[in-house]
Amino acid sequence: MREGIEEREAEREIRWEAVFLGVLLAAGAVYTGMAFGMEWRTPDGRIGAGFFPRLVGVGILGCSAVGLARAAVRLLRRRSRARADPSGQTPPRPYLAAMVALVGLQVVLVATLLPLGAVLASMLFLVPALAVLNPGRHVTNLTLSVALPVGMYLLLQVGLNAGLPAGVLGG
């Protein structure tokens, strides 16, 4: 039964790898298409701006296509083995929700950094992020959510004059 679960887990990873390589292949196609729109040689015979990007783009297309093909072959082999396993158990999912939440909160952090300023935007990120990763420990979370942005502000802005955005606190 355990082997069946591991088999499905591996299958899931290969499927995601194939999706990722597919995205890279598509991005590589756009990159290469644009490279072919640039000059290979300039009118006066010099090497053009598209020369190096074309080489790189073709390399990306080749590597991601081969990687994708390999992933597809591995996936097909695993699927035939998984079909033979009657248990049908689903493997445990990794902590995808926590990771996605963290990425989503980072998007909010980027979006609010200028309008709210470094201190408030960081607090706005830290409170929910700590609630997700460190649930139930409200005092610790709140203390860290206030202390870290203030500490970073003192270090980067007051100490090093690094130009952090002041946002609504800037008056």
């Binding site: 390589l21 990306i60 590597c63 980027v110 950094l113 700590l130």
Partner: protein, 509 residues
Amino acid sequence: MDIFDSLLQGLGAVLSPATLGLLAVGVVLGMVVGVMPGLGPSAGIAILLPLTLDMDATGAVVMLAAIYYGAMYGGTITSVLVNTPGESAAVASTFDGYPLAKAGRAGPALVLAAVASFVAGILGVVLVAVTAPVAAGLAASFGPPELLLVVIAGLLTIIAVMGGNRMLGALSALIGFAIATVGVDLDTGAQRYTFGSPELIDGIDFIPVAIGLFGVGEILWSVWRGEHRGPRASFSVRAVLGDLWPSVAEWLEVKWTMLRGSVLGFVVGLVPGAGATVASLAAYSVEKSVSKDPRRFGKGAMPGLVGPEAANNGASAGAMVPLLTLGVPGSASTAVLLAGFLAWGLQPGPRLLEEHPEFAWGLIASMFLGNMMLLVVNVAAIPIFASIAKVPLRLLAPAIVVVCALGAFTVHGSIIEVGIMLACGVLGFYLKRFGMSPAALVIALVLGPLAEKSLRQTLIISHGSFDIFLQRGASQVLLCFVAVLLVLPVVIGRIRAWQARRAEPAHRP
């Protein structure tokens, strides 16, 4: 001017209270970063790089170099105490370091590892001082074809030693090259991949990419694997460390190990792309093979910890030679250091030692002082750093993300760069998840402009012919090295597959 005069001049440049202060701060910050879960030297330097942008070049680079070797040692503490290497270079330290900790000998293990790092660091600096001028002389004879081959060889070495799927390693490097092509092409003035954004005309800055890949990417990877769920480590610092001082027998057992590891590490570090991971694993193998009782390895043999520790610090020093004389980083960490050099307008290369002696020799001299400081800080503060290793990831992860975001913003005050950092964090997560190489991407990103420029110049010199690589002596040697790097992994893979096929019938009932 001979080497020792140059070193004295370098010492003079760094022996100011301000620079010494930066050195001390760098060592301590590096160690703190090194013991934090999920962060290695590359992430540490990348995250802390923005702090140094307002400093003078020498002070800033001295501090960054101190963070570099401080973090290298910080990774040892977590390897020994909680069996968690900060980065791949510290993996070999877990083999015997953790069994020593379980046996209550973590204190002596950490002291001896610190002494080994110190010996390797000092010996490495002497070797850097001796070899850097020679390497600079050799590098001065390199033309564009050789520089291009050095870049290719460095990337191939990283891909060859990463193991696993080398095709994906090559893909990582190509993505780095692709990112490097964004911005104005300096040769023709044409804009490439800027999509009309003025923010992208100067290209994508290296620092947010490195912070994203190594800082945010590592955090996302750790959270995805659920490392934030359990307590970071539940050991009693006092019980695990035991007596801090090693016994006389332990000192005697490792005296030659330190020297072997230091020299081996330095030599491996000289090869662009090979780096500290290869050095530490090679040193472990060497120590096991020369040991009178190799069965102790993996169960708590002191040479099994000291050898790799000396080697990875020796390699850190060795990697400075191609970095300073060729401008070719040997690892992700030195790639971030190179980005720091470039940020202060210092272009490493054969002429760096002549044109900026105070900087180059100041850096080398600071490594002397830094290693001394590292030893003192280590021995005095091992229990404190061991306590930092207990801070759980669930508290550190969001805090590190904030530090990364604010750090990325302070480089140019650009919110676009914070967005790029976040995007690279997500990319870094997927690169790690599918066995690709963030290090190859970062090094290719840093070396992209050099590779493109060298390729163009080579083709101009040769009128478009690739025969030029076969006509010059240095090119021929480098081409052979590149060929070996391409063929060797295939041959080794075939041999292993053949051995596995041969062994299979013997296991069958």
